[in-house]
Chain length 254, copies 2
């Protein structure tokens, strides 16, 4: 399934390639050797971010940028006022992804490569995937795997997660409480992502599933300001979007 050679335009001029580079969970040293090389070789570096804030992806990768590389920030529309289930939110995001793909496509059309930075693993809940599906048919797209946010949190929390025949369920806290409780109760190990404002709901679901006592809360895993505590010991309901809850498995251990 790998595309070895660059695609060409009808005119015969070689098109540029999109290179999606996973950056890992946040610690710049958890970037892979390959990603560091690809970023260092890049002449045009694109990344997602929010207007008026430092892009998290850029912050992780900056030390590997080569001098004089061109930057292409893709800034999310401000949607903080709109609940994400609303059509307005979906429309705003759809327009943003379409326009971002057009901007990247225009550079690729000119025959130049673009390296697109991706936090964590590019293929798990990543913005990169929205560019990939829009550009993969027309252009060559290469993907460099990264340490996922959850793998970073396992190590930061010093928490073995799955043993032997354990089943691991990864779920976003955006699911409804019944679904969260049912899934937590019927798996050996779990990772719950995207906590943010969903924390009170998750606290109830954890209690219903009977797993709160062995769960761990990880905030900003591997990053500055990292905070790790037993889930049951977290008293407040304040959790950033990039926090996670881990429920370790207890399977077969020779």
């Amino acid at each position: 399934m790998n595309v070895a050679a660059s695609k060409s335009q009808e005119s015969g001029v070689a098109l540029g390639a999109l290179i999606g580079v996973g950056l890992g969970p946040g610690d710049p040293e958890l970037v892979t050797v390959k990603a560091a090389r690809l970023i260092g070789e890049a002449k045009i570096i694109a990344y997602f971010g929010k207007p008026g804030r430092a892009s998290n992806a850029r912050t992780i990768a900056e030390r590997y940028f080569s001098p004089g590389c061109e930057e292409l920030p893709l800034l999310y529309p401000v949607t903080t006022e709109i609940p994400f289930e609303q059509p307005e939110y979906v429309d705003a995001l759809a327009s943003f992804y379409k326009e971002s793909a057009q901007r990247l496509g225009a550079v690729l059309e000119s025959g130049r490569d673009v390296t697109l930075l991706c936090e964590g693993d590019p293929m798990l809940y990543g913005s990169f995937m929205h560019m990939f599906t829009r550009l993969d048919q027309r252009f060559r797209v290469d993907i460099c795997a990264g340490v996922s946010g959850m793998s970073g949190c396992f190590a930061a929390a010093r928490q073995p997660m799955t043993w032997g025949d354990d089943i691991l369920t990864v779920m976003p806290a955006t699911l409804d409480e019944d679904t969260l409780a049912q899934r937590l109760a019927s798996t050996d190990a779990a990772v719950v992502m995207k906590l943010g404002g969903n924390f009170p709901k998750l606290r109830r679901a954890m209690a219903r599933a009977g797993v709160a006592e062995r769960a761990i809360y990880v905030e900003r895993g591997t990053m500055t300001g990292e905070k790790i505590l037993r889930f049951a010991e977290k008293r407040d309901d304040v959790a950033p979007y990039f926090s996670m809850a881990l429920v370790p498995g207890r399977g077969r251990r020779p």
Copy 2:
């Protein structure tokens, strides 16, 4: 939960630290910058392997070894003739892990650090975890996250896995057919690991769950000899232990 300082013996002599280093899915360039540094700094490097074969972990990491570092291979007992559900298998592994922890512990007692190489993510189904649980109470143990085998396979297969509210289930193919079929049918996305001799059973479970058509088979992802094909197009039942099946999610996509 992090242990900042080395632990000391009653005599006051500082004990060595065990450093578990995730190596990623197989491509030596998918080692993190941090792992490459830790391996390069290591004076004693331990790794698991099988007698009479090159250790996969050593092969991935070797380019980062510093000249003159000492190697401590931990060689699994030969258990290929014993089914893993048998008490003999569990006993053989338990003895091996106990003895390996004793060997590592003896070095740590002498005040020297040991860097233990771990394929993939050290905290997911890893041999490292068996050393961690045996040594963490007595010694300082540091853990460096790695790209998981499955993240390597997502990128190698160029396959976005989870979107929006998708639930991802990670399960070993060693589970019984009914469990596999039920789990595959009730999740949005799935990763099935440790295929090996379980392939015919997984093929039946995939068909029963109705996901065979969109599943992908990945063999030796990111490694030499990598093979990626649609699951439905795989005609034979031969799969190495380190092969995986991926069922991509189809969730919300603005």
